[in-house]
């Protein structure tokens, strides 16, 4: 019996692998609304860009300056991503497989740089080497800033590797190097790619480091255009170019990711006696992590603290306090809004990973590359027409949610993927409709991981600068805006306490984020059989 065309069409859009059961249309509507909201900055860009006649747009895109900027951006991107992939893979593998003293502390140290915004990094390194500038310097700073993303992504994935494969390979006589390349690498390929994606999109959207180091990337060019000629149209055209670059980058990652990796629920995890004991490897890992921590944690702290101490002016305690409270509260609000926004899509994916949800996910991913200045202006444009909402805490939090929604969604889909399909099926046979399966099984299991994603948004929002400057309520300062305010008049000593406080506060969510990578299962065989790792 052939299915009618209409049946087939609805099937293609809303089902996958022939799974029966329907989803409440309200959910699709919610996701649709979410997409509309996410597209606000893009609509703004398109409107502004096309205020120019098309021939002028083409001229702008093709002039040599644009191509130069594209080239600079691409080179920077390539260098940072390549270094990250190599260093990130080697260091994470070392941290995971080699028996080290106090591994958990090492991991925390390696991830801690996430708490430091790229502009603070740059300021501190410039304080030591004032003549620091150029693409290589920017690459150096950006690698320092983004390596934790790689480490986190890969460590989480390494932890889930079935040690059984490795044990078999060893008994088959493969050397460690061979095992690494033939057994381990294929399994972590997806997470290397994910980490590289995060790092790359960070590079594309970064402004702080590159502008201070005189490297004109796309974001710097956009900012310059806004500031120099107030030609918002030209700046919007270049912003669209930036977004195109990000789309290409994301597409490349999609190809590499192994989306059909099935989670083997029954597996052996690495235990402490399966770790490598080689002294040489231990030293290598310890030294690498040590050097990285030195460059990325010790140096910035040293500079900040010495500036702080040598500050002859009295410290404005109340200013520090209010700025901290503002930072924490707006960032937290932004993270919550991001969570709320990503929830409908999460529900949809959990219930039914069909074509619609995949497309929605991809559209949201593009948001990763939006520079803060673009979202800021888009919301200035829209918000100023909306009366009291403009320059309110709510709008700023909303801007954070928009800026970092991609992170929230990516983490949500990852968390939901962690839930084995078989659990959802069992729940269904026990009488739960798709919605109930999501609420009673999927979300409770995914919750810790979703929490971490929200923490990541919180952390990133605390460091945000350009959109904050534009959208904050007049008179409200965050730690980031205060740092900028002092640094722009060269009062680095006065900026130091704010920078220090920001890093210390941000260290808390950073520490929490490092936790899952630290835990290594110490479950050995229970009684007579292997216990499946369902957690």
């Amino acid at each position: 019996m052939a299915t009618s065309t209409k049946e087939r069409l609805t099937n293609r859009l809303f089902t996958s692998r022939g799974e029966p059961g329907s989803i409440h249309p309200a959910l699709y509507a919610l996701v649709g609304m979410l997409l509309a909201v996410v597209l606000i900055p893009f609509v703004y860009l398109v409107i502004r860009a096309f205020e120019k006649p098309v021939p002028e747009i083409i001229d702008l895109l093709l002039r040599s300056k644009t191509l130069e900027v594209l080239l600079t951006t691409s080179v920077l991107l390539a260098v940072v991503v390549a270094v990250n992939i190599v260093l990130g893979t080697l260091i994470s593998a070392g941290l995971h497989f080699v028996q080290l003293p106090k591994t958990h502390l090492l991991i925390v140290a390696a991830v801690l740089p996430l708490a430091i915004p790229s502009y603070v990094f740059t300021y501190t390194w410039l304080a030591l080497f004032p003549s620091l500038s150029g693409t290589l310097a920017a690459a150096f700073v950006l690698v320092l800033t983004t390596l934790p993303y790689m480490l986190l992504a890969i460590l989480v994935s390494l932890r889930r590797i079935d040690n059984g494969f490795i044990e078999v390979a060893r008994t088959l006589g493969l050397s460690r190097v061979q095992i690494f390349f033939r057994v381990i690498l294929p399994q972590i390929r997806g997470s290397i790619s994910a980490g590289a994606l995060l790092a790359g999109l960070y590079v594309l959207s970064d402004f702080g480091a590159v502008s201070l180091l005189n490297v004109e990337t796309l974001t710097v060019s956009i900012q310059n255009m806004f500031k120099s000629s107030y030609d918002r149209s030209a700046a919007s055209v270049i912003s669209l170019l930036l977004i195109l670059a990000s789309i290409l980058f994301i597409a490349a990652d999609e190809k590499i990711k192994d989306k059909n990796a099935k989670e083997n629920v029954f597996k052996r995890l690495a235990t402490s006696d399966s770790r490598i004991q080689s002294f040489r490897l231990k030293s290598i890992v310890l030294i690498s992590v040590g050097v990285y921590a030195l460059l990325a944690v010790v140096v910035p702290f040293y500079v900040l603290i010495s500036r702080f101490i040598s500050n002859p002016n009295p410290i404005d305690i109340s200013g520090l306090f209010t700025a901290s409270i503002s930072t924490i509260s707006v960032s937290a609000l932004g993270a919550l809004i991001a969570l709320l926004f990503s929830a409908p899509l999460g529900f949809l994916i959990a219930a039914h990973a069909g074509r619609f949800s995949k497309v929605s996910e991809r559209i949201i991913l593009i948001g990763h590359a939006l520079p803060g200045v673009v979202v800021g202006l888009a919301l200035v444009s829209l918000g100023s027409k909306l009366g009291p909402i403009y320059q309110s805490v709510f709008l700023l939090a909303f801007a954070y949610a928009l800026l970092f929604l991609a992170k929230a969604v990516a983490s949500m889909t990852f968390s939901l993927q962690l839930v084995p399909q078989v659990l959802k099926e069992v729940a269904a046979t026990l009488g739960k409709s798709k919605t109930k399966v999501s609420t009673s099984v999927v979300f409770p299991i995914a919750l810790p991981s979703i929490g971490l994603g929200t923490l990541l948004v919180f952390l990133t929002a605390m460091k945000e600068l350009p959109a904050t400057l534009m959208l904050r309520p007049t008179g409200m300062d965050t730690l980031a805006t205060q740092i900028w305010s002092y640094a722009s008049i060269n009062r680095f000593n006065d900026a130091a306490p704010y920078a220090l406080l920001l890093v210390l506060i941000a260290a808390v969510p950073t520490f929490l984020l490092s936790l899952p990578s630290r835990e290594v299962s110490t479950e050995t065989n229970k009684n007579d059989s292997q216990v499946g790792s369902l957690t």
């Binding site: 500038s133 120099s228 107030y230 030609d231 202006l377 444009s381 100023s384 008049i489 060269n490 009062r491």
Partner: protein, 327 residues
């Protein structure tokens, strides 16, 4: 001009003015550290609270342009004329009556009185007296061999770009291009900020640099010690002596003109202008006002005549700098 003013006033006749405002909103491109005390003084005397939004002048201008007539700002205080010009071009300012900021000379006021200058910022050269024995008399001297590798500039800085724009306006693009190329061939050193140039002079990395006049003071304040750098002016009329201004304008969409204009009057009053000189080391724009310590009076600098209104389009300057390879 009265016609224009009344036309503009007519356009915004629907703009009802608040009778007794308790607060006004200021977008300030001047940094909090320097301007806040002045604002505080006015708040005290007027009884009106100020909501001050601090930011970069150009970014604030861009924000105002984006906000358009919905901008919550009543007053825009900018660090340079270019940003003011951009807002004026978009017709977002309301012209100031003749009795407001009356003591600012016409050369520091926009056409149509859309905005007025508040303080003067002179372009100068800073130099290390131990290293530099022969002082240049014109910016064109700087392409000479004796300054090879010794000169520092900050091409990404708005003040330098304003200067180059003035150069282009006065002498033409070709002249400006030749000069810039000459600098490049002379191994000019590039810095991101004016303060960096002054610090470099103090450290003897270079012996001379093109900066705004107050930077020597600012850097020395920031470092907490005397520095080994002095200021010099070029010969009278040389474009190197250009005077730029920080200024203010009232937004046409504001419902509190009167209060905003009062603030401008305050900032341009003799007393406050003198305070600018003594506290922030800038020039007062009032005729015959005293100069900042150790510097010649404004009238004696030998500044060239520059139409500040024409400084707003920096794009062509930036394009030229890029073409020459300095940006």
């Amino acid at each position: 001009m009265v016609l224009v003013a009344s036309l503009l006033a007519g356009c915004s006749s629907s703009n009802e003015q608040a009778t007794d405002p308790t607060e006004i909103t200021v977008y300030s491109g001047r940094s909090e550290e320097f301007i806040a005390p002045f604002f505080a003084q006015w708040e005290q005397s007027s009884g009106i609270t100020l909501n001050i939004r601090y930011g970069d002048s150009a970014e604030l201008a861009a924000q105002i342009l984006e906000e358009g007539s919905n901008s919550p700002a009543d007053l825009f205080l900018s660090q340079d004329a270019g940003s003011l010009g951009a807002v004026a071009k978009a017709e977002l300012f309301i012209p100031l009556p003749n009795d407001v900021a009356a003591n600012i000379p016409a050369e520091f006021v926009a056409a149509n009185r859309n905005w007025v200058g508040v303080t003067g910022r002179a372009r100068v050269f800073a130099y290390n007296p131990d290293l530099l024995k022969v002082l240049p008399t014109s910016v064109t001297d700087l392409t000479n061999a004796q300054y090879k590798g010794e000169l520092g500039i900050a091409p990404s800085n708005a003040s330098f770009q304003a200067f180059v724009t003035a150069l282009i306006n006065a002498q033409g693009t070709d002249f400006a291009q030749k000069w810039l190329e000459g600098l490049k061939a002379n191994d000019v050193r590039i810095y991101a900020k004016n303060s960096a140039i002054v610090e470099a002079i103090d450290k003897k990395e270079i012996s001379i640099g093109l900066v705004n006049h107050y930077y020597v003071w600012e850097v020395s304040e920031g470092l907490g010690r005397e520095i080994n750098a002095k200021l010099g002016f070029f010969k009278a009329g040389d474009l190197g002596n250009m005077i730029n201004v920080s200024g203010a304008g009232v937004l046409a969409s504001s419902k509190k003109y009167a209060a905003a204009q009062d603030l401008i009057n305050f900032l341009t009053s003799q007393k406050i202008q003198n305070e600018f000189v003594s506290k922030t080391h800038e020039y007062s724009l009032i005729k015959d006002a005293m100069a900042p310590a150790t510097l010649p009076a404004l009238a004696e600098i030998g500044a060239p005549t520059v139409d500040l209104n024409a400084l707003k389009d920096i794009q062509k300057t930036q394009d030229l700098l890029v073409k020459v390879g300095l940006l």
